[in-house]
């Protein structure tokens, strides 16, 4: 793989991958970098590189969380500090900080599906394979998560309009 190809992959996937890794780790950028270095060392280029990168980042993030207690503490610290996950000053009708807060209030599995589908542009089938669950379960979690986000962000639910 030449540097130009690697640069294009970084431009396309690094940013959403970092957001995806930020759910579990404070060192999201390091995890993304490690994932790209692993890609570089792969003897054969993966047939579908995007799910491959997400799987590597996910495994790295879970490996960094040595125990459930530590994971829970870290999630609680994320929740308390509520570091903004989104850029400031972007032309969006939603507030990034508030979106970060409500995302952190979601169940971790629901939040993973939302982040992977909305910003990672992974299909439900790809997320199902990534999370070892069925496509229908992933789709249900996504719809449920979207409804919760709407409610928490103060927007009316479309099903009640």
């Amino acid at each position: 793989m030449d540097s130009q190809t690697l640069g294009e992959l970084i431009d396309e996937y690094a940013q959403p991958l970092e957001l995806y890794a930020r759910q579990w780790s404070d060192d999201a950028a390091d995890l993304v970098q490690t994932a790209f270095l692993k890609l570089l060392e792969e003897p054969t280029f993966p047939s579908n590189v995007k799910p491959w990168l997400y799987r590597v980042v996910r495994n790295l993030a879970f490996s960094s969380l040595r125990s459930t207690v530590r994971r829970r503490n870290r999630e609680m610290r994320h929740f308390e500090q509520s570091e903004n996950w989104f850029e400031h000053g972007v032309d969006s009708e939603l507030d990034g900080e508030k979106a970060t807060t409500v995302l952190l209030e979601l169940d971790s599995r629901t939040r993973e599906v939302i982040v992977a589908h909305l910003w990672g542009t992974l299909t439900f089938e790809e997320i199902a394979e990534l999370t070892h669950s069925s496509s229908s379960t992933v789709h249900r979690r996504y719809q449920n998560g979207i409804q919760q986000l709407r409610k928490k962000l103060g927007l009316s639910c479309p099903t009640t309009e």
């Binding site: 940013q15 970092e18 570089l40 903004n84 972007v90 990034g96 979106a99 986000l149 309009e161």
Partner: protein, 189 residues
């Protein structure tokens, strides 16, 4: 209307740009360049006939693991015996207690009935018919023996006070009775 509203909301969410490290791209490319250089150097310094890549090397490695595992299992298996051997001298044996003799089977072949009877008859005669002197030659009444000890039925022997005056006929009678309790035809105690 509802689906449009839902899609609009998803689009609004998607319009939020994930915050990223602005130098992440450069960092990854720099690290990738270093890693690529390391890989090139490693590949160039690796001889073609590197023994680690040969099947013989893999076979030797596997064999060494098998031998190591076998030695470990063998050591685990024999360790109780070794511990027992080592522990024997450390055990305190009371001086007034006789060492325990190994248990062994006693058959009629080892203690033929006729020689013992003849021996006791000779001793009884040489000791003036003293029963206890004769009976002490019966091998099973060794007081040091803990295994294979014969417990005679009650009243199988005459009272000690009367034994000194017992005749040979009476002793023979008691001896026959005694012998009837001995193992027969290869039986063990």
């Amino acid at each position: 209307m509802n689906s449009n509203s839902s899609n609009e909301f998803e689009e609004q969410l998607r319009s939020l740009q994930p915050r990223t490290n602005q130098r992440l791209r450069d960092q990854i490319l720099y690290a990738a360049g270093e890693r690529a250089a390391e890989i090139r150097i490693r590949d160039s310094t690796k001889p073609k006939g590197d023994r680690r890549s040969t099947g013989l090397w893999k076979l030797a490695t596997a064999a060494s693991w098998v031998v190591t595992a076998g030695l470990f299992l063998y050591s685990v298996r024999v360790s109780p015996d070794v511990e027992q051997i080592v522990d024997v001298p450390a055990r305190e044996t009371p001086t007034d207690q006789q060492p325990e003799l190994p248990e062994r089977s006693i058959s009629t072949e080892e203690t033929p009935r006729q020689p013992a009877e003849q021996k006791m008859q000779a001793m009884t005669q040489s000791n003036g018919g003293h029963y206890l002197n004769a009976i002490s030659y019966v091998p099973f009444l060794d007081s040091n023996r803990r295994h294979g000890e014969i417990r005679l039925p009650e009243n199988s022997l005459p009272e000690r006070t009367n034994s000194s005056t017992a005749t040979y006929a009476e002793l023979s009678k008691h001896l026959r009775h005694f012998n009837s309790h001995l193992p027969q035809n290869g039986e063990t105690l």
